[in-house]
């Protein structure tokens, strides 16, 4: 079998194997993005797709683009996505119900039709062999130098316009992210009065029964000996999955502290 393959593609076998691995990983990662319910998982799958695309670029002689792909996409863009996911809420997942009936089936049919159309067009056009970019890469002494010559000569105007686009996008992001303060910032005095009137102890009691445990997830004891959930941060209860459940009739430590601060 291997000899057959080697005869079919005398010199390209390692390249072919690499291509098949990378192609399967890229398409599979994209499919997993499509089917993963949680947005964080989708982001990680997309990062995998981008990394594999970078390998493909390098296999095709676009060394500079491959590295830029790694740095800009997997490094910057996907991390920006993850950052926004953290901001918006990690557990934001899609609901299962279809709001439009038959939307998914219709989308699947349209997608399959689109694939058939595109692949048919590619096969019909008979792409055949490739000239390759080894020659153009060598003209100026390297891929980066060749790209630089093109960008700063033939595509100089497009390059300038695109720089204007980047600056405009940065301005737009600043404008969209900016929030005008409508209400006055509450002073420390007002916050203090509010906290005192809320009936919670000031400052909040520390967690831990120090004679036996001093872990921060151990609730502190009230004077009558009952453990007080207020003393334990809510997040710890979520992490360990046991005891310190915040009491509903009593604001937990996190809620009390969150009250005066800015939200998002």
């Amino acid at each position: 079998m291997t000899s057959l393959l080697a005869v079919a593609h005398p010199s390209n076998l390692p390249n072919d194997i690499a291509f098949w691995i990378v192609a399967v990983l890229a398409v599979g990662g994209a499919l997993m993005m499509l089917f993963s319910r949680k947005a964080v998982h989708a982001a990680l799958w997309v990062a995998l797709v981008m990394g594999n695309l970078a390998i493909m670029y390098i296999m095709e002689g676009a060394v500079f683009l491959g590295i830029v792909q790694l740095v800009v996409y997997t490094g910057a863009v996907m991390m920006l996505f993850l950052f926004v996911l953290m901001l918006v809420g990690v557990d934001s997942s899609d609901s299962v119900v279809e709001t439009l009936r038959g939307q998914r089936a219709a989308a699947a049919v349209a997608g399959i039709g689109f694939v058939v159309l595109l692949v048919g067009a590619i096969g019909h056009s008979g792409t055949g062999g490739a000239v390759g970019v080894v020659g153009p890469n060598l003209v100026d002494g390297g891929n980066v130098q060749g790209l630089a010559r093109l960008i700063f000569t033939r595509y100089f105007w497009a390059f300038e316009v695109i720089s204007a686009l980047l600056i405009t996008a940065a301005m737009g992001a600043m404008l969209l992210a900016h929030r005008e303060r409508i209400t006055r910032r509450r002073s420390q005095r007002e916050l203090s009065i509010e906290r005192t009137r809320s009936g919670a102890p000031q400052p909040l009691t520390a967690p831990g029964v120090y004679s036996r445990h001093n872990a921060v997830d151990t609730p502190g004891l009230l004077p009558d000996g009952t453990p007080s959930p207020v003393t334990v941060p809510e997040a710890l209860g979520e992490l360990t999955g046991r005891a310190p459940v915040p009491l509903k009739q009593w604001p937990g430590r996190d809620e009390l502290e969150r009250g005066g601060g800015e939200d998002l």
């Binding site: 291509f19 192609a23 890229a26 398409v27 994209a30 499919l31 993005m33 499509l34 797709v49 981008m50 493909m56 670029y57 095709e60 676009a62 500079f64 683009l65 830029v68 792909q69 910057a76 863009v77 996505f81 926004v84 996911l85 901001l87 918006v88 809420g89 934001s92 899609d94 939307q103 989308a107 699947a108 349209a110 997608g111 689109f114 694939v115 595109l118 692949v119 590619i122 792409t127 055949g128 062999g129 490739a130 000239v131 390759g132 970019v133 153009p136 891929n143 093109l150 595509y155 497009a158 695109i162 686009l165 980047l166 996008a169 940065a170 737009g172 992001a173 969209l176 929030r179 998002l264």
Partner: protein, 99 residues
Amino acid sequence: MSPTGFLVVSALLFVIGSIGVLVRRNAIVVFMSIEIMLNASNLAFVTFARMNGNLDGQVMAFFVMVVAAAEVVVGLAIIVAIFRTRRTASVDDANLLKY
């Protein structure tokens, strides 16, 4: 490897991205699908550059990357702005312009 394989991968990725835009309702996942579509077009550009034996396609792919970066920045800022007012990132809930 012949360019056909790369072009087919590019087509598959583009279609998967477009299905993602059609089906998913989390705005951030929709954005990721758009990114996959842009990357698929980049792969096609790079492959065309190799087929024709010049670097112009790679320059185009470079420009597409810049445009994609600008698009991500503005789009994510819009998502965060919508999330502030609506407390949701679902595209179904941003429907004030619908009626």
